[in-house]
C-alpha cells in the first residue's frame, strides 16, 4: 500500500474554530474519509472534520525576532514597564492618584 498521511482537523461545535485532532494513514481520499469518520466523527464528538494530505500543508518554523519589535505583535505589547520608567523619570508615582 502506498499510504499517505492525512491530517485531521475537528470542529467540536458549529461556529467554533477547527483544531488539529490527529493524523491517519490511508491509501486514498476515500479511505481517509472513512477512517477519519471512524476515529473522530461518528460518535457525536465532532460537528465537522477537515481532512488534509500532509503534503498540502506548508509548514513555517524558522521564526527569528531580529530587532525585538514586539510592538508588531497583534496582541499588543506590555506598557507596564515602560510606564514605570517614565514615571520614575518624571518623579511621579502611579500610587498617587490624587495628582499631588
Amino acid at each position: 500500500m502506498t499510504a499517505t498521511i492525512w491530517e485531521v482537523f475537528r470542529q467540536e461545535r458549529k461556529g467554533q474554530a477547527f483544531q488539529h485532532a490527529g493524523s491517519i494513514e490511508a491509501p486514498d481520499e476515500r479511505f481517509a474519509d472513512w477512517y477519519a469518520r471512524e476515529q473522530y466523527g461518528r460518535r457525536g464528538e465532532s460537528a465537522a472534520l477537515w481532512i488534509v494530505p500532509r503534503d498540502a500543508v506548508h509548514p513555517i518554523e524558522d521564526f527569528v525576532d531580529e530587532l525585538n519589535r514586539n510592538y508588531h505583535r497583534v496582541d499588543g505589547y506590555p506598557l507596564k514597564e515602560k510606564l514605570k520608567e517614565a514615571r520614575e523619570r518624571a518623579g511621579t508615582s502611579a500610587a498617587a492618584p490624587d495628582g499631588s
Partner: protein
C-alpha cells in the same frame, strides 16, 4: 425474492427470525474480530475491529429481543446452545484463508444484509422495524467500507476468484429457507467462543 419467513414476522415466530439474524451477526463479528492485530495495516485494523464489534453489538440487541419472547437471556442464546441449534448461514462460519476472501465475504454479506434489513424496516412489528432501522444506521458505514474495498480490489484476480467462490453461499443470508446445515468450522468456532463461559458452573455471575 421475499422469503415467507420475513414476509409476515408476527405469524412466523419472531424469535426464530431474530435468532437467525443474531447468529449471523455474532458469528461474522467473531470471525471479523480474528483480524484484530493482524490486519493489513493499522488504520484498517482499527476499522475492521470496530466493524466486528458493531456486528456483535447488533447480535446482542437482536438476542435481547428474542430472549424476551423466549423467556431466557441474551447470553444463554448466544453461548449456551448446541452447534446444531444455531441458525446462522454457512457464509459467516467459514474460517477464511486471507484478506481477499474476508473482503469478498464482507461485500457479499453487507449487500444481502441491506436487503434483509430493508424488509425488516418495512415490517408491521414496530419493535422489529425500530431495531432494524437502528442497526441499519450503523450498517450504512459498513456498506461504505465494503464498497470502497470492493472498488479498490475489483481489478485483482484473487479478489474476483474469492467473490466467485463465496457468492453461492451469500443467497442464504437474505433467505433463511436456503440455510442447510453447518460447516465444521462452526463447531470449532463455538468451542473457542464458549470456552471461558463453560469453564464455570451454569448460573455463574460474571
Amino acid at each position: 425474492m421475499v422469503s415467507p419467513m420475513l414476509r409476515n414476522v408476527s405469524e412466523q415466530g419472531r424469535a426464530q427470525l431474530l435468532l437467525g439474524i443474531a447468529d449471523d451477526e455474532l458469528i461474522l463479528g467473531w470471525r471479523d474480530s480474528e483480524w484484530t492485530g493482524v490486519a493489513p495495516f493499522l488504520e484498517e485494523d482499527v476499522a475492521f475491529s470496530s466493524i466486528a464489534q458493531n456486528e456483535i453489538g447488533h447480535a446482542r440487541a437482536l438476542y435481547e429481543l428474542a430472549a424476551r419472547d423466549l423467556g431466557t437471556t441474551a447470553d444463554e442464546l448466544a453461548f449456551d446452545r448446541r452447534p446444531a441449534e444455531y441458525r446462522c448461514a454457512q457464509l459467516v462460519e467459514l474460517r477464511l484463508p486471507g484478506w481477499e476472501h474476508t473482503i469478498a465475504r464482507h461485500c457479499l454479506y453487507e449487500a444481502a444484509d441491506a436487503e434483509r434489513l430493508a424488509r425488516l424496516i418495512a415490517s408491521d412489528d414496530p419493535e422489529v422495524a425500530g431495531l432494524a432501522a437502528k442497526i441499519d444506521r450503523e450498517e450504512a458505514y459498513h456498506r461504505m467500507h465494503a464498497d470502497m474495498w470492493f472498488d479498490r480490489l475489483s481489478g485483482e484476480p484473487r479478489f474476483q476468484a474469492a467473490l466467485e467462490e463465496l457468492r453461492p453461499l451469500a443467497t442464504a443470508i437474505a433467505d433463511p429457507e436456503l440455510r442447510n446445515g453447518h460447516t465444521p468450522d462452526l463447531a470449532e468456532l463455538l468451542e473457542v467462543m464458549t470456552e471461558v463461559r463453560r469453564s464455570q458452573p451454569p448460573g455463574t455471575t460474571w
